[in-house]
Amino acid sequence: MTLALRVEHLRKSYGAVAALDDVSFEVERGEVFALLGPNGAGKTTSIEILEGFIARDAGSVEVLGIDPGDRQHLRGLRDRIGVVLQELAVESFFTVRQVLERNAGFYPHPRDVEEVIDMVGLSEKSDAKVKRLSGGQQRRLDIGLGIVGNPELLFLDEPTTGLDPAARRTTWDLIRHLAAEGTTVLMSSHYMNEIEALAQRVAVLSHGRVAALGATATLGGRDRSEATIRFTLPSGVAASDLPITPWRVEGDTVEVRSDDELRALHALTSWALEGHIAVTGLSVARETLEDIYLALTRGDRAEIDEEPDDTKARTP
């Protein structure tokens, strides 16, 4: 199996603030890999180093077998990667086709422009001015610009931030389609459901460190964790009268944790049926990705809201 990305002991500081503090992860070819973390955790800094946009302080990085810090091979690398930024970077007075044709001209082996227009679902808008497109359509054009060079690896920095739910779903479909074609995707996102829907593996960043790394479905052992049973305490019943031991009681909401939820439910429901006690608000839940994420990043705040600029001109 070949690697698309290899990051080892990566470090980057802005002044005294460590934006990345010993970050390591690997991404296989064809994989959709997500970086998850609060603002300032180091997601964008990581992506910018991998794209060769900013320089790292220490550690080693390989992108499609090339060191993005090596200026000599940077152009060859950029022929093979696609980039979608957080910002909607589209020119408003061009038409959809004009923008895509312009950017296709940058690459040695671009995709067919009509094919890209079709893939991003803008066939009916191909001759419309970009400024006439809705936010969701502009984002899809933006992703079209990311893939028009026929990249082997696509960087998606928060691709659906600011989109409405319907536009988010069509963007997901597009990303799934690209992944199915074999494009490797490195994405960042704030949305847990987005990462659950798209990414096979995820790294949670917190304070510039990897707080957890693993398959999305099993991150933090959540597939094996205890289930939480919730219900409303029936009136006239004391918590100590319940057939199962509460983990905690908040107001009249009872929470029971159990690694054998079937047996616990059975005890509860048969007790209620036999005693004619009405149990309402019953639910069973396992830890969500969000629970794991919040536990891992507890106490994090956006500490590097404004990262000092390290992107000034360097003479080529």
Binding site: T2, R29, R78, I81, F94, E307, K312, A313
Partner: protein
């Protein structure tokens, strides 16, 4: 798992020159499609020349050897066009592209920086030459203003002007914080400089204003254009000293740009 190996990209100097032509084409499209820049640069200078030409009538300027006032305006507005395209329009365009992420995206594409820079300069030159030609023709056939005494001197002054003022435009774009302030800041700087440099009326030589303007590049570009048209009467076409001042300002601005230029938008 995808393991397909794609052919290694073939690139040559020639393909990069084609890339420059490709970029110039889209720079031109962007300029003419975004009518604000076209109106501000080309439209303004034509309208000003026609209006000032009509109001100047047969007025003469004594200090320039009794030439007609309109003959003073033609080279002046060619200089205006150079500065409007090279300085104001370019700096606003760069700030907007930077803050919307377009510059960052270009930086992350395989297009080399020198291709980006040269295509912007070539595109600016095309705009300015179109505008200069329009003004020369309007002056000649509308107001009997003589053709330049040296076309080559005019071309050189336009090129030096574009390089110098484009460098200043890039430098000011680097210090302007955001899109909202880009237009006002550069326009105010621009029009104050134009006023001080005597675009609207000839500065009396040896006046305090003329002496002050000698330290600034705008007046020197106007003088260089004047000379290409033989203004003041009998002037040699080549104003080397004035071209040198414009070039020096350009060199200084290039140093500022190299230190301050940013590709990425300011984070909020």
């Amino acid at each position: 798992m995808s393991t397909d190996v794609r052919p290694a990209p073939q690139r040559s100097r020639f393909s990069d020159l084609r890339l420059v032509a490709h970029q110039v084409k889209y720079e031109q499209l962007a300029f003419w499609l975004n009518r604000v820049g076209a109106v501000f640069t080309v439209g303004f200078s034509v309208v000003f020349l026609v209006m000032l030409g009509a109001s100047a009538g047969s007025q003469k300027v004594q200090s320039l050897g009794d030439i007609s006032l309109v003959s003073y305006y033609v080279p002046g507005f060619i200089a205006y066009g150079v500065m409007a395209a090279g300085f104001t329009t370019l700096s606003v365009t760069l700030v907007v592209r930077r803050e919307t992420g377009l510059l960052k995206r270009l930086r992350l594409s395989p297009v080399p920086t020198w291709v980006l820079i040269s295509s912007i300069l070539i595109s600016t030159a095309i705009i300015t030459l179109v505008q200069a030609l329009l003004l020369v023709v309007i002056g000649r056939y509308g107001y009997h203003v003589a053709f330049p005494s040296s076309w080559l001197a005019l071309l050189v002054a336009v090129i030096v002007g574009i390089l110098g003022f484009a460098a200043m435009g890039v430098a000011i774009s680097a210090v302007v914080p955001n899109q909202e302030s880009a237009g006002p800041v550069t326009s105010i700087v621009f029009f104050v400089l134009l006023f001080l440099a005597g675009l609207w009326f000839p500065l009396p030589p040896n006046s305090g204003l003329a002496k002050f303007s000698n330290y600034l590049p705008v007046r020197h570009l106007i003088i260089a254009m004047d000379h290409a048209f033989g203004v003041p009467r009998g002037a040699t076409p080549w104003a080397w000293h004035d071209l040198l001042v414009v070039a020096l300002w350009g060199a200084g601005a290039t140093l500022v740009s190299l230190r301050r230029f940013r590709w990425a938008p300011r984070r909020v």
